[in-house]
Symmetry: C2
Subunit: 154 residues, 2 copies
Amino acid sequence: MSQADRTAAKVEQLERNCHQHGLPMTAQRREVLQALVLRLDHPTADQVLDDVRKRLPEISRATVFRVLETLVRIGIVRKVCHPGSAARYEVEGRRHHHLVCTGCEKMIDLEDPTLDHLSLPGVGSGFHIQDYSIQFVGLCTTCARKQKGHVRSS
Amino acid sequence: MSQADRTAAKVEQLERNCHQHGLPMTAQRREVLQALVLRLDHPTADQVLDDVRKRLPEISRATVFRVLETLVRIGIVRKVCHPGSAARYEVEGRRHHHLVCTGCEKMIDLEDPTLDHLSLPGVGSGFHIQDYSIQFVGLCTTCARKQKGHVRSS
DNA sequence: CTGCCTGCAAACGATTTGCACCAGC
DNA sequence: GCTGGTGCAAATCGTTTGCAGGCAG
């Protein structure tokens, strides 16, 4: 599937989900989602804002926050937690995991079928597990090189 | 091991690590760590502050943030990322995973030996994996009950 | 002594909210 | 026309920082 197709499919899904939830479809929602689909990484709200402004220059920061939250609520977008300060967002898609670099805080997607069917723990507590995702923490190539020899700078 | 023993052991480790890093040992550091050991959940900095103030009433908020960051740096405490707003902290210990409730944002620890030895993916990218932890997302018993029948309130 | 640590208050960055107006249905 | 969405600016929340003492080593 091409990038354009993926985008179109997502926008369509957005329209469906908005409808299901009785929410109007707006240009802002479409553009925010589109910007997110086009990115391969996990942008912060501000990065999304920058992208969207290229096509919708008058959009407000607050709206981007509101729209992102809405997209998360209706299940099209996932808010991923990140050790860094600002929250990151990504479109919901295939199950995948994250490599997080403790050096530069970069986050890389990892798809690995062997990790996709963990036997879910039979939690006695009655917790209802809907999904899971693994966070691998470590050092990316660049940071690993940098740390050679150093103990700790700060 | 009793709770008191665990606390003592951790404080001792703190003294050792401070020494190793050339950092002075202070009452604030001891109390912050102690407060964290005594909690079974993943408190925010403010929750830690409340606990510590019971024994050290004049401690400042800024100090709690600074001390927590120090404890993370010297490897006694872990900052866990959480979809919610404020960062959470926990003492480093055995490997465990987290159940995160999407309803109330509660986070529950889960120790499960069957999940402790995942075959780490042979990442081609040269990423250096040091550790991992799994996030299970779902609904806790309370929130699961609440959602029965509702579609979505807000 | 000297350097790191602390308390306080102010600064900061990310996110949320109140309000007046506009657009989708 | 009513409901919910948007832009703007102000408020809020979590966290960090600058500075003047204080205390550990």
